[in-house]
């Protein structure tokens, strides 16, 4: 969806071909968007003119800023979504773009002419000519749904998989592999009694995703707000899981594909953390008037009869009715080291991949990749220069570089620990980092860029005023920055030290407080950035022959050959890279540059 939006924003006509237009942008797993790392991505998408932030603000039913007690760099906005309303909001936002045509059909092949993609073929015989194609197949490619002993082809519950496309991709030279993921059972909302659980309301002052909603006036969610509830598993539940392991496709050997560790199945939790006598579960309503509850933390592919026993054994859920059973899904993805950092497949010029087909997990990762792929696909059509987000400037850059350089061993999810410059990439600075980039690319209208520019000018002026007033010598008073670092409320500090005309609206004041809190560290990170950028500046020629480099292991040589790093810095992030091998590479590049043979 972000891919279509970004491409149409750049002025390209887009056909959005999907199996079932009615199920477009369905939140097929957790009805929530954002989180630590993920919320950062949503802010970046928003800063680049994407739709996810605005949509999640409009359809949010429970907003929480995670890590609120910690520093601004690791705070991530998150919001429960209304399952029924979110897709409609997204589609309305997209319709306003005007250049996107929605078509129903199953893509089964790509036509290639002269080494480039020229069209997409659908199962019903239609041919859609296209100068560039973005493929976002999610979990649908040769998808298999597992539930106990039952294995059914499917992309999601009650949705057919895409069977034919995988063979077509393989024939074009794309290597495919399998990943798995899973989802928990849904419960009938009115069959449980909320008073049996600890209630978790949303934040009193909800923090929105979109910078457009971070204005002078406090953000007010459009929808009525809902609570979630906490529940716990227990030893009885764990015993049921252990006894049923032989019937779990994960443990009986039916599923061999790797799944994400950080979103583990409940079976995995019980086996790997055998000493734990309980696990936390979140009961999350799927919408304002949706009849179901999503049981976050109980992802399982055990047979329904065991799932039923498990639910009935959880305190408070004794009488709960299950609306849909949990299941695991196994699907094809294309190991992303086959992609250029523009997300274009090396083997198939004109074909761009985004989302789970790149080996990621999560709506936010998918949306971010969609935006990068869509913008680059449109740029390719228009003959413009490609865009590679910088890993020193954004989580988008970290993600694209991680995927295309290091590849994935399990579905990739964003974490703040993946970034070298975590403090500089705080969610509230995404507009400063990326909105000018978005404007230059044509993704962000000038008015919006001006708005972001004005916000940062305000912040900068206020910062200078604070520095000027209190940097003077002889002043025994504490610097505002020191007071903020010590934990004084910034409202108080600013009210005391800023002249009225420089007072900042709430969100801007928060941002400035963060900058003051990290003063010194941010400069340190920027020095580190300079050091890292040095390694990025040592370019490796695109046609460099790794086969001719003596002293590398075959494994490393193959990886280098596949990834074809653009710089020494990128090469250093390839897994298995050793200082010795890097030295060899540096020496060889130096030699080639010196000796013009």
């Amino acid at each position: 969806m972000e891919a279509a939006a970004a491409a149409s924003r750049l002025g390209v006509d887009v056909v959005l071909l999907t199996l079932d237009p009615a199920s477009l942008v369905r939140l097929s797993c957790n009805p929530a968007i954002g989180g630590i790392g993920k919320g950062h991505l949503v802010r970046e998408i928003d800063a680049l003119g994407g739709v996810m932030g605005l949509a999640a603000d409009a359809a949010g039913t429970h907003f929480r800023l995670l890590n609120r007690s910690r520093g601004p760099a690791v705070q991530g906005p998150r919001a429960q979504q209304d399952y029924d309303r979110y897709p409609g909001v997204v589609q309305r936002l997209i319709e306003s773009e005007g250049r996107i045509e929605l078509k129903a059909g199953e893509a089964i092949g790509l036509r290639v002419d002269g080494g480039r993609v020229v069209a997409v073929e659908s199962a019903d015989g239609q041919v859609f000519p296209a100068a560039a194609v973005v493929l976002t197949s999610g979990t649908f490619l040769r998808g298999l749904l597992f539930q106990g002993e039952s294995v059914v082809p499917g992309g999601r519950a009650c949705e057919a998989p895409a069977e034919a496309l995988s063979a077509a991709l393989s024939a074009l030279g794309l290597r495919l592999d399998r990943f798995k993921t899973g989802t928990p059972p849904r419960l009938i909302r009115r069959s449980l009694d909320p008073s049996r659980f600890e209630e978790q309301p949303g934040d009193e002052r909800p923090v929105p995703f979109s910078f457009l909603n971070l204005g002078d006036a406090p953000f007010r969610p459009a929808l009525p707000q809902l609570s979630t509830w906490l529940a716990y598993s227990n030893e009885r539940v764990h015993a049921l899981v252990r006894a049923g392991l032989g019937r779990s496709p994960l443990y009986s050997g039916k599923i061999r594909a790797r799944g994400p560790r950080y979103c583990p199945s409940f079976e995995d939790k019980v086996v790997r953390f055998a000493d734990r006598d309980r696990h936390l579960l979140h009961l999350e309503p799927m919408g304002i008037d949706h009849p179901w509850i999503y049981v976050n933390g109980l992802s399982t592919s055990l047979p329904p009869e065991i799932q039923a026993e498990i639910v009935a054994s959880i305190e408070g859920l004794e009488g709960a009715e299950v609306a849909r059973w949990g299941y695991a899904v196994e699907y094809d993805y294309a190991p992303p080291t086959q992609l250029l950092p523009t997300l274009e497949a090396r083997a198939v010029p004109g074909l761009f991949l985004a989302g789970q087909i790149c080996g990621t997990t999560g709506y936010e990762e998918a949306a971010g990749l969609g935006l990068v792929a869509g913008a680059n696909a449109a740029s390719a059509v228009l003959g413009r220069a490609p865009w590679v987000p910088d890993r020193l400037q954004s989580y988008l850059g970290v993600m694209v570089d991680d995927l295309t350089t290091a590849g994935v061993l399990e579905p990739y999810r964003m974490f703040t620990s993946r970034a070298e410059l975590r403090l500089s990439l705080s969610a509230d600075s995404a507009d400063r980092r990326l909105t000018p980039v978005g404007e230059a690319l044509g993704l962000v209208p000038a008015s919006r860029a001006a708005r972001a520019g004005a916000r940062w000018e305000r912040i900068e002026r206020a910062r200078e005023a604070l520095d000027g007033a209190f940097g003077g010598r002889g002043a025994r008073r504490e610097l505002p920055a020191d007071r903020i670092r010590r934990g004084d409320p910034h409202e108080e500090v600013f009210a005391q030290h800023l002249p009225a005309e420089l007072r900042l609206p709430g969100p801007d004041a928060e941002t400035l407080a963060g900058l003051l809190r990290y003063r010194g560290y941010l400069e340190r990170e920027q020095r580190e950035a300079g050091r890292l950028a040095d390694a990025e500046r040592v370019r490796i020629p695109g046609d460099f022959a790794y086969g001719g480099l003596s002293g590398l292991s075959n494994e490393l040589r193959e990886r280098l050959d596949e990834v074809r790093p653009a710089s020494l810095g990128q090469a250093s992030r390839i897994p298995g890279m050793t200082p010795a091998a890097l030295g060899l590479l540096a020496a060889a590049i130096g030699q080639r540059v010196r000796a013009p043979s």
């Binding site: 910690r70 690791v74 975590r422 003596s550």
Partner: protein, 453 residues
């Protein structure tokens, strides 16, 4: 790296050859092949008695053949099969007689049979690449080859045996675990349990790790001195006889000795080995009333040299009345010269009396210097882990980063700020062994925690 001189070919398919013993005439020489064709190449240039087939893992006596297939030497061949060899590849070792002509002919025969002459360090590089040794061990190989003293060679051998990694790895591990704990608290605060560590616990763990690095650095100090050498400076009044002691210690008349004061003006350095410890002995201008600008500059240099020395020999003349006063300082040793002349009074406290002229007391002086510098002959080397300057510098950077992180944790700073210093500490130690990427960190986090959300 010598990459330029290498033939451009795939090392996995290429077998390299080199003689492993020094060039020149010797009783025996060793020629070594490494690579997939080692056995095949050896079979082309080596024939067992009575045409017996070649076998693996056992020394075989036979005849070495030249390029034309004519016998040139009696030799012993041993074939080792991958992966359990020094380079992780098939290896053939040929022990032959140590004539340069025969060695050269054997190498030529190997090349004709398909081997490529190895580049300097290429065997080690292949071992490194095959994961047989780590970076610290590869460095030790170089040190071992270049060792000037037996003790230096012993240290290099111990480093090669993996002592560096064995000592550093658990430290790096400990820091990495601490970092993983801190990071888990940041990225999974919404998980099913409070993962965040208390500041005092982080500080305590960081300080313990810093103390361990300090202890390791201290325990490695004697070995480091053996490796890097110790500086010993002769300091004393003009014309007190420093240069005579210098000449006597190094064993020949390196420095001009005259009865005139102020003969030595520049710093003069010579190397010697005392009980396995390499020493740079420095003779300097005498200190006192300078007779001119050149002498004044000489004195300034003498004092500067003494400042940075591992040991200062305070030299004075026993036959003259002046005596150093007070107890001797740390890293200072008093040496009274002219012990053959009538003394002008009792010697100062802690003096070693010597006469370079008669040789009296010189053996004792050598022993005391060795003892003071903890020469390996005088005391066994406790650790060799941080004996190399590069390793020490990296370890101390890690130590400083840990101390900084501990300070921040105690001050209640955010975990995202501690993480910066902990990352620096991990990075510094991993530089000794190899690199680490963020994937490895996540790997660690997931191995330890049950994270559900």
């Amino acid at each position: 790296m010598g990459g330029g001189r290498r033939t451009v070919t795939d090392p996995q398919t290429v077998t390299i050859v080199a003689h492993a013993t020094p060039a020149g005439r010797a009783a025996l020489a060793l020629v070594r092949l490494s690579g997939p064709d080692s056995a095949a190449i050896a079979a082309r240039i080596f024939a067992r008695a009575r045409g017996a087939p070649l076998v693996d893992g056992r020394p075989m006596l036979g005849t070495l053949l030249d390029r034309g297939g004519a016998p040139i030497d009696q030799a012993v061949l041993t074939l080792h099969r991958a992966p359990h060899t020094v380079t992780g590849e098939d290896v053939a070792e040929i022990t032959l007689h140590g004539s340069p002509v025969i060695v050269r002919e054997t190498l030529a025969a190997c090349v004709l049979a398909g081997a490529r002459p190895a580049a300097p360090g290429e065997f080690t590089l292949r071992a490194l690449r095959a994961g047989k040794i780590d970076l610290a061990q590869a460095e030790a190989v170089r040190d071992l080859v270049e060792a000037a003293t037996v003790e230096q060679a012993r240290i290099a051998a111990r480093q090669l045996g993996g002592e560096v990694s064995a000592a550093i790895a658990p430290l790096a591990e400990g820091i990495f675990e601490l970092l993983a704990d801190v990071e888990a608290g940041l990225d999974f605060s919404d998980g099913e349990e409070a993962l965040a560590l208390a500041g005092a616990e982080v500080a305590g763990r960081a300080e313990r790790l810093a103390a361990q690095i300090d202890a390791l650095a201290g325990a490695s100090e004697p070995a480091r001195r053996v490796r890097e050498g110790a500086r010993v400076v002769l300091l004393g009044p003009t014309n007190s006889g420093k240069s005579s002691i210098f000449n006597k210690l190094i064993g020949y008349g390196r420095v001009i000795v005259t009865p005139e004061p102020g003969t030595t003006r520049d710093l003069i350095e010579e190397q010697l080995v005392l009980e396995g410890l390499p020493i740079v002995l420095v003779d300097a201008a005498g200190v006192g009333e300078p007779g001119g600008q050149a002498e004044a500059e000489g004195m300034r240099r003498a004092l500067a040299a003494a400042e940075s020395a591992h040991l200062v020999l305070e030299v004075y003349d026993l036959s003259r009345p002046e005596r150093p006063v007070g107890p001797p300082g740390a890293h200072r040793l008093r040496v009274g010269t002219h012990a053959d002349l009538p003394p002008a009074g009792p010697p100062a406290q802690g003096t070693v009396a010597v006469s370079p002229l008669t040789g009296e007391g010189m053996t004792a002086l050598r022993a005391v210097i060795a003892e003071q510098l903890h020469a390996p002959g005088a005391r066994p080397l406790e650790s060799v882990a941080l004996a190399t300057e590069r390793h020490l510098a990296a370890a101390l950077e890690a130590r400083d980063a840990l101390v900084a992180a501990a300070g921040q944790a105690r001050a209640g700073e955010g975990a995202e700020l501690l993480a910066i210093d902990l990352r620096r500490a991990v990075h510094a130690l991993r530089e000794i062994l190899g690199e680490v990427g963020p994937e490895a960190l996540l790997e660690r986090i997931f191995a330890r925690f049950c994270i559900g959300k």
